[in-house]
Structure formats: C-alpha cells, structure tokens
Symmetry: C2
Subunit: 340 residues, 2 copies
C-alpha cells in the first residue's frame, strides 16, 4: 500500500504539504498542489481517511434517525434540521430505519460515537433502555418530537404538546356546531398517536360532548386514511365531522368523502394535525393544527449541539412552540346542528 | 483520558473482551458483559470509535447525496435505496444539499472516503470535474438518475430514458385527440428537465403537431405548478391538455384548473412524469409516465457496490427499466377535436 510519505517523496514536498493538499488546497501554491495530485494519481495513493478523521478529532457531524422517510412530515423536518445544523457548522446525516427497531439499532451502533457526534432520534421503535446504553457509551442522543411533555423520558428531548393540538382541533369542531364526530387515529411511525386523541377526547368532554361517535386506528398514510374513512362513513353515515390525528389521514379522508359523493366541508368537515406542505396544496385545502415542524427541528438541533458541547448528567426536556389552529377550506358549520 | 486497557484491568478481563463487549455483546457471557459495562460507567470511559472503525477497515456505509429532500420523489428513492443497501449488508446515509452546489461540495468533502465507501449523487449541481476529482481521491461516485443516456457522463451512472418518458406522454395525448397542448417544464433539483420536454416535442412533431401551443419553465413544486398553470390558462384559454415534466407540477396544475372552474379531464387533460405515490392519491388520480423509481434506486445501489468491490478505470453506464405510461383519471378524449 502506498503511503503518504511516498507521495511526499515522489512530489518532492513534505508529508505536511501532501496532507494540506488533501485537506484544504487553498493553503498550498497551485503548482505544488498540481505536483502532489500528479504524484497521488501516479502512485495510486488512497488516503486513509479514517485515520485523518481520527487525527482531526471532532467530525462535526450530527445524525438524524427517523422511522419513515416516505411520510412527508419527515422530509420537512429533515430540511429544517439540516439547515439549522449547517448554520451551526455541522453536517447532518439522515438514517431511515424503515419502521423497524432492528434496523434502528443497527444504524445506531454503526453511527453513534463514530460518524456522528450526536444523534437525534425520532419515532424509531428502539427501546428506551437501548437508547440510554448507547447514549452512555457513544455520546449524546436527543429525542425529537417527544409526544408526552407530561412524562419526560430518560433522555434529553424536545417535546411537543400534542394533547393541546388535539384539544384545539376539538374546540374548532365544537365551535362549528359539530356533535357527531369520527376519529381516525394514526398508528405507525413510532406508535399510536394517543396524546393527540386523548387531548381531542378531553376537549370534547369539556365541551359537553361525551365522546367521539366512532373511531378507528389507522396506519399513517393517505391510502390508509382513505380506506378507513370509507369504512367509518359506511358504518356511521350520520357523522358531520372527522378528526384525523395527522394530515395524511385527513387528506385520505377528504379524497374518500369526495369519492363517496359527500362534499367537504358542506356535508362533512375534516381536520388534521401537523400542517405538512401538502395540507395547503390539496383541494379543498386542509384545516389543521400546525405543530411548527421547522421550529421544533431547529430547537432539536440547537439542544443536541449544546449536549455535545457540554454533556449533562440530568436529562432535560425542552418544549417546542405551542400548536396553532390553521383554518382553511375543509371545515365549515354543521348544517345538521338543529337536529343534532 | 481513560483507556480501554484500564477498563479491562478494572473489570478483570482482557482488552479483547472489552472490545468484544463494545462491538458485539452476544460473544461475551452476560455476567462478564455486565462487569465490563459497569467498569465503563465507573471510569467514564468513552471508546475512541474512529480508531475502532479504522481497526475494522471497511465501514460498509454508502452515502446518497440529493438536492431537495422536500420533493417527494427523493424520499421514495431514498426508501428503495436504503432497503437495497441493507439487503447487501450496507448502511445508507442521506445528505440533503438543499439545491446548493456549495453545500453539496462541503458534504462530498466531508463524507467521500471517510464515512462512506461510495457515494450516489443525484441532481446536486456539483460540477462534473469536482465529482471526478473526488472520485479519483476518495473512492467511487455513481450518478443516479442520469437524464441523458445518449450522452454518458465522465463518471459511472445509472441513466433513465427521460426522452422516452416525454414521448410516451405526447403519444397518449395525441391518441386522445389533443392538439392544443401546454407544457410546464420543471427547472430545479439539478436543472431544466429538457430531456423530457425534448422527447415530448419530438413525439408531437412525429404525430404531425408542430409544437406545443404554449410552454413555461417552472420550479419543481406543487405551488409553482399551480401558479404557472393559472398564468398559462389565462394566456391560452383554448388549451385542452397540459403536459408537465414531473408529477408535482401536474398535481399543482390540476388544483389550479379545478380552482378556475375547468373540469379535469372533461375540459382539460393533465399528464405528468415520475409516478410518485401522490399521483395515485390525489383526485382525480394523475395519469403519468412511471420512471420506476424503486427499480432505478436498486440498480444504482447494486452498481455502486460493484464499483466499491472492483473499481474500474472506464466509467460505465447502466440504463434503468423503460418508462411506462400509467393511465388514471386526469386524461380523457379531447372534446374540441372536431373544431381543433
């Protein structure tokens, strides 16, 4: 194997100059750099870059592990997280665990403490004790988009008040006069979205509506939301509103209602949670509760960098900005109110 | 700094055992592993994992650099590529370059030859000569989704016959009797989609239609497609069909037409290229030309792994499966045919 010293001899420069050429060519005069590159090509030298990373210390790279990149919420989080990381001089690598705890574990073992100085973990189904062991051995892990601010986890996290998001959706439907309400509750990408549905139910109860008329657990996707909405409406044709625990399900529900000849929002109102880009792009545009994805991504990156720079013993929780109702065209007054 | 040997002494085991515990705990008896983990915790040992990666040699990690993770085509490619990589025992890290050549370059310098044994590059705006220099110094680079199979690049690639995709779209509209056709040509995520529009134009000409009635360059997004379609239809209200060089633009065009009171496909037909998941999820479901994203992703991963295992001097091009027309509900016969 050709060594760096041999390249240096061949190019009649010092090893440090070869190293400079490989790392940062601005420092070296163009003719010299040219000679070094020539020597590298002639000798077939392949720099041992793991050694280089080792010599330089800090790799300045963060990793983001997420469960399902095909769910459009995640790419939106990635985009904001990557921009925030870069602003702070860090790179962000993304690992898709494909909704599989085994794969998540394998990625974590592969990257934590090696490629990545710190890892953001989002809904990956990896057991908390495994994450804790990895954090102990391999460096900081931060849980992004923790759904239960009332129950802080054993690791640092950025939480979002999803119960409040559910409550805002319920209040909106109640104010519009809806009483016969169906629920589609997402189950996927890190488990059942129960904080959202609990918050929704509690707000309905506070508004004097005992509970939702009908509910179904649904895997997170437009197709699944479509199918579930057809089943729900066949069984409960009297529903005047549907709450979905995320926007994908809500968009699928709108498509299903249109397909069944039920106008949205004239016959049935639909509301989601998240505010993915698609929410304003579909027709009718989706009323939803925005969880401020970009702001939560930025906060998560900034907390992770703090953890890397100054590790703490006690896990701490930061809460993202409060969810906000975004009224668009998929919700309207309940026509059947008088008879409700 | 605590060393591995100190941990071994403290736990009364050999350094090799500590190493086994850190790498692969199945090999060590549970009591022993427990004692080692205890020692690690007590001494505050942090394994030097860059050194570990170095000792083990091959990191078995591939990287995928792409321009815009928020465009749903990319997450679909990522999902298929990650699954294919994993089947071959490789990890896949994703880097989003945010449509910025500077950022792409920085990521490439950061990962090529260090974290990643090989890099897939997709529409990143990094200059070809920079990619070639990186490939020479840092190991294999493969260009995925090369749009011009008639012009092989200076690096290995997997190409898709996008001109053929455009031609299939044109033939479909011609067969439906359309003659007054508008075009929305995507410009973003790696440049103008000219292979697609050239193929479309050539097939129109072969069908006796001199050229599209009207065309616009549009940034790749639903919102941009929406806006451009409004402009196009105001200027050319006689159009009976719209070809968009990708599905996002086509979906935006459908939304715009509905908003303007033009029924799709009754008044205006719309066709796209790609077949992203959203194409079958919107209403009306989008007629499009499928470019077999998953198959192209799998082929790209398999060629990259071949390159890593047996580097070649001569760049070679593989062609992905041929594009296929997928007829759904957004295209129909031209009503104005007699008067056209």
């Amino acid at each position: 194997m050709v060594t760096l010293s041999e390249v240096a001899r061949h190019a009649r420069v010092t090893a440090a100059t070869v190293s400079n050429v490989l790392r940062n060519r601005e420092k070296v005069r163009p003719e010299t750099a040219e000679r070094v590159l020539q020597a590298i090509a002639e000798l077939g030298y392949r720099p041992n870059l793991n050694a280089r990373a080792l010599a330089q210390g800090r790799s300045s790279t963060l990793a983001l592990m997420l469960s399902n990149i095909a769910n459009p919420f995640y790419p939106e989080f990635v985009l904001a997280a990557e921009r925030a990381a870069r602003k702070s001089g860090h790179f962000l690598m993304v690992c898709n665990t494909d909704d599989d705890a085994q794969i998540g574990r394998a990625y974590l073992n592969q990257i934590a403490g090696t490629f990545a100085d710190g890892v953001l973990v989002m809904n990956t189904d990896i057991a908390m004790n495994e994450l804790c062991i990895s954090a102990m051995h391999n460096g900081p892990i931060l849980l992004a988009m923790w759904e239960h601010p009332e129950k802080p986890p054993a690791l640092p996290c950025v939480a979002v008040d999803f119960a409040q998001a559910g409550a805002l959706a319920a209040k909106h439907l109640l104010e519009l006069g809806h009483r016969k309400i169906g629920m589609l509750i997402g189950d996927g990408c890190g488990g059942l979205q129960d904080a959202r549905s609990d918050g929704f139910r509690a707000a309905l109860a506070a508004g004097g509506v005992a509970c939702a008329t009908a509910q179904m657990q649904v895997r997170d996707s437009i197709d699944a939301g479509h199918e579930a909405c057809v089943t729900l409406m066949k069984k409960h044709p009297q529903l005047t509103a549907i709450f979905a625990s995320n926007d994908l399900l809500a968009i699928g529900a709108i498509q299903a209602l249109i397909g069944m000849g039920r106008a949205v929002p004239h016959d049935v109102s639909v509301i989601g949670i998240t505010d993915i880009a698609l929410a304003h792009q579909v027709r009718p545009a989706l009323t939803t509760v925005a969880i401020q994805t970009a702001a939560v991504a930025e906060l998560s990156i900034s907390r992770l960098i703090q953890l890397i720079d100054a590790p703490v013993q006690v896990p701490s929780m930061a809460i993202g900005p409060p969810p906000e109702l975004v009224v668009r065209d998929s919700t309207g007054p309940c026509k059947a109110r008088a008879s409700g």
